[in-house]
């Protein structure tokens, strides 16, 4: 049976992808031999500097990359199913612009009032991202229903609104270009174990959740009426996906800024490789998204060493050609 062999192919690919992700520990401003990496990981003695670089700098960064990549891809996949729209991504509801606005606002306020506010940046980002999504929801809501077209349109409006707010803050309040690029293009730099644990737990829980409701998502891509004919409570499901997706995106963005393209292209690649069945394409999206982001991050921090390219640039640079390729292929099939 083909379905099983797809799942099996995925399981076989898993350990290779995990090893591949760990190989990225070797690269950076300082090259560390692979043997030393495994020694450090299992707790054997290596030099102090190397151990700090691996365990305190690179490992959390790679794990954060896996978490953020998985969270964004899984959310993107669920939005693409819910909205029946191949161009949907986690940022379509305005969470990204909202989070960026919150983060930059926190920094502006820190400059003006209390420097300690900088440490609460991620809370500002998270709250503001959720706020933006709530506005989107309230604008789109029609009675007890949440029509998808309205949702996409109001998401666009909210994105523009908060985008304008970001520009306003940058021009009038605050001129730290590097931090702006952190929030607008994303970065995994400076990630501590705290955010790794938070993002990682969210990513794992959400991947499980979306895999479990995969059969309902399958029905959703055939249309809302069709889904309701096979017993899916469509409106309730949409609101659940909306809430869970918004939360996941806000977690990811408040940890790493707006990393583009992952949530858009990875679900497409997962569907191309493993089919559209969400019971498989969800875990596949999570793993592919995580590994893709880690690889992009390695390129971002090594190719231009010692300075760093914002990871959003790399994902877009690698992601765009892949996406164009898929788009052309789709056009041929349909």
């Amino acid at each position: 049976m083909v379905k099983i062999s797809k799942g099996r192919a995925f399981l076989i690919a898993l350990p290779f992808l995990a090893i591949f992700a760990l190989l990225n520990l070797a690269f950076g401003s300082v090259y560390i031999p692979i043997t030393d990496i495994f020694k450090a990981l299992v707790g054997l003695k290596v030099s102090n500097t190397q151990s700090i670089i691996i365990l305190q700098l690179r490992l959390p960064r790679i794990l954060l990359g896996l978490g953020v990549g998985a969270a964004l891809s899984v959310t993107g996949n669920s939005f693409q199913a819910m909205m029946k729209n191949p161009l949907a991504d986690p940022y379509i509801l305005g969470v990204s612009a909202g989070a960026a606005f919150g983060a930059i606002l926190a920094n502006v306020l820190a400059q003006m009032y209390d420097p300690n506010l900088v440490f609460y940046t991620w809370i500002f980002a998270f709250a503001s991202g959720i706020l933006a999504a709530m506005i989107t929801y309230l604008v789109a809501k029609k009675g007890r229903k949440l029509p998808v077209t309205e949702l996409i349109l109001s998401g666009v409006i909210v994105n523009l609104m908060f985008g304008a707010g970001v520009t306003f803050l940058i021009v009038y309040g605050w001129r730290n270009v590097q931090l702006t690029s952190f929030w607008l293009l994303g970065s995994l730099a400076g990630s501590g174990w705290n955010s790794v644990i938070f993002v990682g737990m969210t990513a794992v829980a959400m991947t499980l959740f979306f895999t479990i409701i995969g059969k309902y998502l399958n029905a959703m891509i055939a249309g809302e009426e069709e889904a309701s004919y096979v017993g899916v409570k469509v409106e309730r499901l949409k609101i659940i996906i909306f809430i869970v997706g918004t939360f996941t995106t806000a977690v990811a963005v408040s940890a790493s800024g707006i990393i583009g393209f992952v949530g858009l292209i990875i679900p497409h690649i997962a569907r191309m490789l493993f089919g559209a069945d969400h019971r498989i394409s969800m875990p596949a999206s999570a793993v592919l998204g995580g590994v893709f982001l880690v690889v992009c991050d390695t390129i971002a921090r090594t190719a231009f060493s010692p300075s760093e390219m914002p990871i959003g640039t790399i994902t877009a640079l690698i992601g765009s050609p892949i996406f164009i390729y898929i788009l052309r292929r789709r056009a041929k099939i349909v």
Binding site: A81, I221, E225, Y229, V230, K233, I333
Partner: protein, 277 residues
């Protein structure tokens, strides 16, 4: 008591005053095959959507003596299956994965397919004679094959009542024959009910036990096919036609009077030269 009871059903689409359904009354008993015909915009699809409680109608729609709104979605999906005009998933899927959707109302929260579910899916493919399509991708199929897979999905759902909403209107006659024949034979054998709207009235006459004719949201006739007259067809469709009996099956058949420039005026019972040509 009949299986489907519709009493004083009214519906207007949001923001319009026109009644899409206007005091519709009818009932369908267990094991019947009822065809619904009427011109475009007469309310056939609205009626089907009301029967599935997708639309918030006014009036009473009872299925198995229970108001359709009061069923849980899952419960309802095990009772009623719907085949619409077209099924088009946003992303390409295997035929098998599509038919598996039919098992959603029967599986638990995790959606794990049991051995029995797998068997039902295979059965649905066998039943329609399309086991060769199981592993084909949906987008690569012809319109006819897609519709067969779609019906297989609804068969896997094992509904007691089947609603067809112009399910055959864009199929060639070969697919129409195989699809409607299979549905009729299987549902008659298991004494299950079918309510079908038709675009093509001859298909409706060939397969239905009873015909409900709709116009402007109202039921204008509820009769066995043999009772329909040319006059009624003209009043409903504004089409000139002749009713004949099929030489082999003896079922009634409507022929359109489109020969050259003349058309038949059923009100005067004469051939007239139409000015509109």
């Amino acid at each position: 008591m009949c299986e489907i009871e519709v009493r004083d059903l009214n519906y207007s689409y949001f923001g319009t005053l026109r009644k899409a359904l206007d005091a519709v009354n009818f009932s369908v008993c267990k094991g019947e095959f009822v065809g619904i015909i009427g011109p475009n915009g007469s309310g056939k699809t609205t009626l089907v959507k009301s029967l599935t409680s997708i639309l918030s109608y006014k009036g009473k729609v009872n299925i198995m003596e229970k108001e359709v709104r009061r069923y849980s979605k899952r419960e309802f999906a095990r009772l009623v299956g719907v085949v619409a005009q077209e099924f088009l998933p946003a992303y390409d899927m295997k035929a098998r994965e599509i038919v598996e959707m039919g098992r959603i109302p029967h599986t638990g929260l995790m959606g794990q397919m049991s051995r029995e579910d797998e068997e039902k899916v295979d059965e649905a493919f066998e039943c329609l004679g399309i086991p060769h399509l199981k592993d084909r991708m949906f987008y690569s199929m012809s319109g006819g094959e897609r519709q067969m897979v779609y019906v297989a999905k609804v068969f896997a759902q094992e509904p007691q009542i089947l609603l067809l909403d112009e399910a055959t209107s864009h199929l060639d006659i070969g697919h129409v024959e195989i699809l409607l024949k299979k549905i009729r034979i299987i549902f008659k054998k298991e004494k299950k009910t079918v309510v079908a709207t038709f675009h093509d009235i001859n298909q409706a006459f060939a397969f239905s036990d009873r015909i409900i004719v709709m116009k402007d949201g109202k039921v204008v006739a509820d009769v066995i096919p043999e009772m329909l007259t040319e006059k009624l067809i003209y009043e409903v469709y504004k089409a000139h036609c002749t009713i004949v009996h099929h030489p082999k099956t003896n079922k009634i058949n409507v022929l359109m009077d489109l020969e050259d420039e003349r058309s038949f005026d059923p009100l005067r019972n004469t051939l007239i030269r139409s000015k509109s040509f």
